[in-house]
Symmetry: C2
Subunit: 335 residues, 2 copies
DNA sequence: CTGAAAGCGCTTACAG
DNA sequence: CTGAAAGCGCTTACAG
């Protein structure tokens, strides 16, 4: 392991740590340290293979140049891409990212928040689980820099970066109706997350706006824990009423994936009669033979804005919480 | 932000920091601190909302309880799943993970290694890019705990966790031949990575073992940087000779995805004549109408073994480098 | 232009 | 059983 410290260099050179520190941090000019001294220090540092210990610096300055990222599950394509986008933007500011997955479990996210704070991350980017509101409130009170991505809480004024779930959902469902569909089923997450709720509201409003009745038997809710099984069950139940259904609308990519998988395996021909649409896309949707309508979230932008908002907070102590709402795009022209 | 320190508690209670530290670290019994004292400290700590500053602890103990993870690109499904597996296993040991993507660029991975080391991660898990061997050699010399995943270098004895690329590849190609295919094209990465090389070797050996000639015009190499364009070009060139081809074999999931996308868009019918197979799978392969043979890597195990190997190194200073080679599984029974 | 010294918040020999 | 003190490796007022 490395062990050359500032002190080692200063001793070698018979100068103070202060001087070496200034030089190593590029403050030589500012501190009016002579050119030759600067050169000498730099040369010696290189020769000895000096590398600053960021931990020590962080302890002293209170800045770790590390961001904490908490998502439901980094192995999910949406979050994986989000993580990458956040990583890239964080790098632009000289930051690294430490991450953790909550599995939509508030106990886990609570622990992650705690640990990351104690590791002195300069800010937290969180895709909060349902019951995380208590932690978020505390962060808000402590003025700890954080930003919520993908989901948020109506009760806490936060820095937030999300897509417009309601409008996006409305458009997709409205498009189905305009195409003549009248019995549109929805498979949704029941994790109590506002983004999922909004997608449901968009669905409902599209129905209403077109004079259609909301039929609760066409709305299926699925939990995170038993996602696969419950999605399959939901599909089964829906297919039992298949004469009365002409569209199945999935509220996110995972549900769409699981649902389609089940349909294709067990009852593929039903796809001739029933349209599929999804709020969210998964990678190869458009490689499949099944025509589908789906939204695509601007993940790059979500990540970029999230980091930018964190940085603003880190740089200036108090800023008014900002809400960034981005539009989603669609797989084909819709009205 | 938090600011309650050990000292604050010790002052409140009129005891020493030492005592408080022992109690907070659960060493009260061991240090024979009285029950009541222990209780008092714990109560006060809770009351004041004390949280240990891990940075300070790390600086003092030399252990940060953080692992550095460097992959080509965390947004790639393979690496995303690997990251998750590593996260889970690291958590078991009380560790967190800081990550970075190299984009197969050795300059980037070099920087990441440096930064993570200076942030004092206790170990590095690396999916090395082609020219990373120089960094790996240095880590080896410094006895810095690290493990290579997915790829390795024949020149440096390292802790390594990989799949058996050569055998896996052999089996897939051999299976095609047994099914009567004679003209098997391969689309491969030319990033100079040993895992990719091994997949090519497996391909070659399967041909040879079956008395078939290697035809270089059927082997297409693609770079990481222009992956999409070059894959499309490769497919185009292969399809020009389509009378002479009966299988296209992709050496990883990304190439398979891009290649299939292009084929489906531009020349779907060709799939009636040409079989597709892939070393690696992507999520929805088996939802597609196209029959495919593909391998599936034991990603969970890769991550688990990687962390376990790192932990062994962290716990005992010197261990003999170990190589863990895991088998891949296949989408259907093969001979 | 340069240095001595304090301090960030811990842990851990050492001493009693 | 408990405490005073050193030290991890930095940065930064303060002084000259």
């Amino acid at each position: 392991m490395k062990k050359v410290s500032l002190e080692d260099i200063s001793k070698e050179l018979g100068v103070s740590k202060t001087l070496v520190s200034f030089v190593m941090n590029g403050r030589a000019k500012e501190k009016r340290i002579s050119e030759e001294m600067t050169e000498k220090v730099l040369a010696k540092a290189k020769e000895m293979g000096y590398k600053a210990n960021y931990l020590a610096r962080a302890l002293r300055t209170g800045k770790s140049n590390t961001l904490g990222l908490i998502m439901a599950d980094i192995s999910n394509a949406f979050f994986a891409k989000l993580a990458r986008s956040i990583e890239n933007e964080a790098n632009e500011f000289g930051y690294n990212v430490i991450f953790g997955s909550s599995d939509e479990d508030s106990v886990k996210s609570g622990k992650l928040i705690e640990v990351f704070k104690n590791k002195k991350v300069d800010g937290l980017i969180i895709c909060p689980a349902m019951d995380d509101i208590k932690y978020i409130k505390r962060l808000q009170k402590e003025k700890y820099p954080y930003v919520l991505v993908d989901r948020y809480f109506a009760d806490v004024k936060s820095n937030v970066v999300v897509v417009n779930n309601q409008i996006g959902s409305y458009k997709i469902v409205n498009d189905q109706i305009k195409q003549g569909k009248k019995k549109i089923a929805m498979v949704n997450f029941n994790v109590g997350l506002i983004n999922m709720d909004d997608r449901f509201i968009g669905y409902k409003e599209a129905l209403e706006a077109n004079g259609l009745q909301l039929d609760q038997s066409l709305v299926k809710n699925v939990s995170f824990k038993d996602m696969e099984k419950e999605t399959e069950l939901a599909i089964e139940e829906l297919l039992e009423q298949q004469e009365t259904i002409d569209t199945i609308y999935f509220s996110n990519n995972q549900l769409a994936f699981l649902g389609l998988k089940y349909i294709i395996k067990n009852n593929k021909s039903v796809l001739d009669k029933i349209s599929i649409c999804s709020f969210d896309s998964f990678a190869v949707m458009d490689l499949m033979e099944i025509p589908m309508v789906y939204g695509t979230q601007p993940i790059q932008e979500l990540g970029k804005y999230a980091v930018d908002l964190i940085m603003k907070q880190i740089e200036s102590d108090t800023i008014e919480p900002q809400e960034v709402v981005l539009p989603i795009s669609y797989s084909k022209e819709m009205m």
